[in-house]
Structure formats: structure tokens, C-alpha cells
Symmetry: D2
Subunit: 129 residues, 4 copies
């Protein structure tokens, strides 16, 4: 691991209040595993998918819309913000089995022309009362 | 005016609790005038534009998105519901001078392929406290 | 009907391109009847409900949220715009039998403290292809 | 680090196609640093905040709404999904200096009664063309 990376990580660790690197790394791994577990489940879950793209790219808007309609039973609603004349931000709320939600996110995020995208895994709230 | 139309109108009048036709017509005219006035004003207002269309129509999605980005300063946010595999419902919240909001609505609603659309005129809430 | 009202109506008629008052009134009546018919139907329809209110009014936000959750099966999604420090704009997309959608709108619009509200009747797009 | 945790992590590493643990940990650290950097910046950024909560909790809805209105200049739009009779999902799109967006997220996520919440850091798309 590079010196520069370690230095930055140590600064972050200090700021976040961890006592040592192991503790911080353990937390990162745990978080990653929870996320992984979520995306393999057959249980009904909720996720939000965030996409940033330029609608100037030929046919990108159409490709993304067609893809979303394919999963219209899982995608509850999409909010679209016109960031500027070119850039779009879309946030989709998706409800379905973890596997399905993950698959929908993967297909959208891997679409050519999407500048940035993330799946945020959350919950139906039922098991957390 | 046709007999059938009058009969239906009389039934509606009765149900709505109007005493006579003149009163009901006066209300329809007033409502229409308020709406008209709204769309001619230079004052900052808020409107919601509802659109239903099929994303299957070639390039319609792209045309509507490009049009919306042209007015990205007025269009605060757009909510898109995937009604089924083909039909889209979009609701736009638009803030700007009455005239501008009206113009944006006219351009979107008159786009070829839009099945149904409406501008709902509302308020910033400031003058109604 | 007052002179002032008639004068304004005549100006509007001219601008809109109607040939005479009867024609314009007929159109207003027709539009009103279509809307009425919509709200009596058992057929599945789609509507958007626009609400403007101040969240400063004690418990209004809670009342509206509780009401909306009561109809969570019909209300697909709600978009909330923070117009300023006090005023809220909410747009709800509602899918259900016409009667139900009308009832939900009536209950929300008649809630004390709501400054302005409107039900916009639209379509699932299925019968308009 | 516990055996169980390491075993799960090794499975994930294999599935994700990493060659060894170091490589995977390096990626986790990098991702975390990018996120950290984002939230310290004075540059204008965009984030989405996802919240799950129950509107049954006394005054929670009001507290969250008041908080959001305080930052109405940064919060562009909020989408509210009525997950069921009790649970709410809210997704906020926030545009502002990284620090501000982080602060808004922290205040919302730490509100008592919020079951789950996450800040997703994204971009205005301008530097990624």
C-alpha cells in the first residue's frame, strides 16, 4: 500500500475517532459485507439508485427509459433533476427482492455514457421497529 | 347547446349545489379568468405540469428531455412514474414568471406524441398567509 | 352576470379564438363534465394532487402525512418542494378507481390550513393509444 | 480480526474478482477517502440523502420538515414514498458546498427516530465530461 494512501487513511482514522487501523479496516469490511449480503437476498428490500449522465449523448435517455420501464413493477418512482443544460441527475426508488434490485442497478450503472452511479441499500423499515 | 349536454350539466349543477345555471356558468367563467390572468403575469408563480406519453414513440423521450433542460432554471424537479411497460407519467414543478411557466407548458403539451397534458396553476404561498 | 365579468370574458374569448360566447361556454361545460365523469368512475385512473401549505401550522404536516399513509396503496409517490422557509409544495401521484382518487383529493384539500390545492385528472394512457 | 469475518471477506473478494486481500482493502480505503474528501470541500457538489422512518413517532415528521426547510436553498427536491401505513422513505437531492451537504445529512441522519439513513455523494457532472 502506498505511503500517500496510508498517510491519508491515518488522518481519516484520527478524525473519525478510531483507535487504530485494524479497527477502521474491520468497519469498512463489515459495511461492505452487509451491502453484499443485501444484494444476494430473496427478501423484499428497498434501494435508491442515483445516476448522473448527459442527455446530449445520443439515445442515452431512450436507453435508460426503456430499461426502467422493463422493471416498472420494481421501480416505484424516479425523480429527475435538470442539473444544467446538459447534465441530468436521476434518483430511482426500487422495491423488490435484493437480487432484483441489485440487477436493475447493475444494468443502469453499466450503461455506456452514465458518468456516475450508485446503489444505496436501505430497508422497508419493517424489521427495524 | 345540445339537449344531452344541458341535461348532464343540470345534473351536475344539482349535485354541486348550485341554485341555477347562471350561477354555475358564472363560476366556470371566473375560474377560467383566474387561470388566464395567472398565465399573463410577470409575477413569480408556481405550476405543475402533468404529461402522459409513451416512451415507445421514436425520439419523444429525447425531445421532451432536451426541452426540459432548456428551461432547467425554471423546472425545479420532475417526477417520472413508469405506469406500465409503455406509458410514462411525468409531473414537473415549475417556478417562474407566469408567462414563462405558461410558455413551457404550451411547448411540452403541444409536443407530438404527448397523449395528455395539463398545467395546474398554483402559488408560491407567500400572498396567501 | 356583472358587466366587468362579461367584458373580461369577451376579451378572453377573442384571444382564444372562439367565435361567440355560446361556443366558449359550451367548452367550459364540456370540460367540467369530463372532469365530473372521471371522478365518479370505477375504472382505474391516474390523478395528480397539488397542495400548497405552511409547515409552520401546528400538526398540519403530521395530519397530511398520516392521511397519505392511510391511502399508501393508491398514492404512488409524493414530491415535496421546500418553496421557502415556511411554504411547502407537494405533488402526489395517485392511481386508483376514479371515485377513490377523488375522495383522497377531497380529504387532503379540505384539511384545515391547506392554502391551495387542486386535483388534476389524467389517464393511465392505455385507452389513448 | 475474527475468523468468521475473514472467511466472509475472502468469499466476497473471490466473487468480486480481486487477486488478494490487500488489493480489496486498498479499494475500500480509496473509496472511503474519496467520500471523505468530498465532504470537506468548498466546491459545489450534489448528494442524495436517503431516510427511512416511521411517521408514527410523535413530532418526527414535523422535526424533519422544519429541518429541511431551514436548508431549502440547498435541498432541491424531496421524494416521499409511503412504504406502508407506518414507514416512510424519503430521498432528498441536495446541491451545495460539500461541507454544507455533509452537515445537512448529519443533522437529518442523527435525528432521533430515523431508522436508517445514508448520504450518497455524487457529482454535478461538470468535471466528468
Amino acid at each position: 500500500m502506498g505511503k500517500e494512501l496510508l498517510r491519508s487513511f491515518d488522518a481519516l482514522i484520527k478524525q473519525a475517532g478510531y483507535r487504530n487501523r485494524s479497527e477502521a479496516i474491520r468497519d469498512l469490511i463489515r459495511e461492505r459485507l452487509v451491502q453484499q449480503e443485501w444484494t444476494l437476498t430473496d427478501r423484499v428490500t428497498v434501494g435508491t439508485i442515483t445516476l448522473v449522465y448527459s442527455h446530449d449523448i445520443h439515445e442515452l435517455t431512450e436507453v435508460l427509459t426503456t430499461l426502467q420501464h422493463k422493471y416498472h413493477k420494481q421501480i416505484i418512482s424516479t425523480m429527475h433533476i435538470h442539473l444544467d443544460r446538459h447534465n441530468c441527475l436521476e434518483v430511482l426508488v426500487v422495491k423488490g427482492r435484493g437480487k432484483e434490485v441489485k440487477k436493475i442497478a447493475d444494468r443502469l450503472l453499466s450503461t455506456k455514457g452514465v458518468k456516475h452511479g450508485k446503489l444505496t441499500t436501505t430497508t422497508t423499515g419493517r424489521r427495524l421497529s
